[in-house]
Amino acid sequence: MESFGRAFQLIFSGNREVFTIVFTSLYISIISTGVTACLGIPAGILLHFNTFPFKRGLVAVINALLALPTVVVGLLVFSLISRSGPLGSLNILFSPWAIVMGQVVLSFPIMVSLVYSGLSKVDGRFYETLVTLGAKGRNVLAATLIEARFVILSAVLAGFGRVIGEVGVSMMLGGNIRWYTRTMTTSIALESSKGEFSQALALGVILVTIALLVNGIIHTLVKER
């Protein structure tokens, strides 16, 4: 209990290291989420509006990838961007960009899947009405996006929730470098391994707060629909 008190003390004392760690975490996760949104939302929309052979198989695969373990993603991306790997010349291993890359891989299936399943829940009569009113191609797409904006937003937030809380990718690809790639989760792992539980707990409290906020937003949005 005593360490809880010290945790709050750390948060409110404006400790520069804690601030940097929180900021790095947020910054990396926001970029990852942004990149994933740019890729995953269109992919989900394409998946919804097109029919092609093996589509159900593809959807099943994407859904299965929701359970992708972070360390496996870390390992895969590591072997890609290691100097001896095919993308080694990028020289991004052990940098924030390596974490971004891993987190994009991690959250892409989540966004595709949520956007796709969200769109398929839009009432079928919605399209019929649109078509009856003379809407074509682009208009249908635009109208659907407006109709499904909360679905898309909550898909994005779910992706964010996944990446802000993961530790496997950040640890393996970022290397937990102080002042550079140390995020809240890797820092919690490090501090607790050193027996510095109050520092770990302080970061844990911040992390949980952010996770709760994100989930609260999702919840409110879904309710609003």
Binding site: Y27, L93, I177, T181, S192, G195
Partner: protein, 277 residues
């Protein structure tokens, strides 16, 4: 409202880019001011690097990205060309690393020693034994909990060497391979009130947080030397060899060495400089 949000996000991003960009100091910056160093958990968990590297940065402008893993993993990162320099402690592995052409200019930096730590009650009765391998075999016989790093780190390599010397292949539920860093293993050992082998630096750094005492020390086989090796620039053109050598030369310089000797936690010296030879 949306506008404010947008401006906020832009400011946040701009600030972040500033934070990520390597510091734009006033002093002369080296051509490539970032050095990636793979090292063992003991040098970081003991606080030594947090104490040394800011001084090195002040002097030379190089900032060192520390990736703290076990010695085995650190050498592996060096062999793959993913780091510029390795700072490790497992002499036999280091020599293999250099012989394989992965690294050059190996230098002795410092040493300390390993200690076998365990609970005050000492159920295996190893206190003050002078023979480390004998102590391990007594732990095995009594089947008291023993936590092994199990991660090919320098400490793990030493531990395996001792088991081999004792003629025992440890197995059974009392022998727990944690696969974690030194700090985490000491914490686990504390929770189980079992035994483990630790480098003295990390043990001293964590002594106040645990209820474990050093039971066996002083056996010459427990000697623990640390070496620094630059990754071979002929094998990997991209490595920051200049930076690696700047770090090597500084850490074995009089200044680096005297700083290492002066690093103390509550009056106890953690590492002893070695480079004067």
């Amino acid at each position: 409202m949306k506008k404010i949000l947008c401006i906020g996000i832009i400011l946040f991003l701009a600030f972040g880019v500033g934070l990520f960009a390597t510091g734009s100091g006033e002093k002369e910056m080296p051509a490539n001011p970032r050095i990636k160093m793979a090292t063992t958990t003991s040098t970081e968990n003991s606080g030594l690097l947090d104490y040394l590297l800011p001084v090195f940065k002040e002097k030379t402008g190089y900032s060192v990205d520390v990736i703290a893993v076990g010695t085995g993993a650190a050498l592996e990162l060096g062999a793959k060309g993913d780091v510029d320099v390795v700072f490790v402690h497992a002499r036999s592995k280091e020599d293999e690393f250099v012989a394989a052409g992965n690294g050059i200019n190996r230098k002795d930096v410092m040493h300390n020693d390993f200690v076998i730590i365990g609970p005050k009650s000492d159920p295996a009765g190893i206190k003050s034994m002078k023979d480390a391998a004998g102590a391990l075999s007594r732990i095995a016989t009594s089947e008291a909990d023993f936590v092994s790093r199990g991660d090919k780190s320098g400490t793990h390599v030493k531990e395996r060497e001792l088991w081999k010397k004792a003629g025992i292949d440890p197995s059974g539920i009392w022998y727990k391979e944690a696969g974690q860093g030194m700090g985490a293993v000491i914490m686990m050992t504390n929770d189980m009130q079992g035994y483990t082998i630790a480098d003295r630096g990390t043990y001293i750094a964590m002594r106040d947080k645990v209820d474990l005492v050093a039971l066996v020390e002083g056996d010459p086989v427990l000697f623990n030397p640390y070496g620094i090796i630059a990754v071979n620039p002929e094998k990997y053109e991209h490595v920051n060899f200049e930076g690696a050598m700047a770090l090597e030369n500084w850490i074995v310089s009089e200044e680096g060495q005297s700083l290492i000797a002066a690093y103390k936690i509550k009056g106890d010296q953690l590492f002893y400089p070695d480079a004067d030879k």
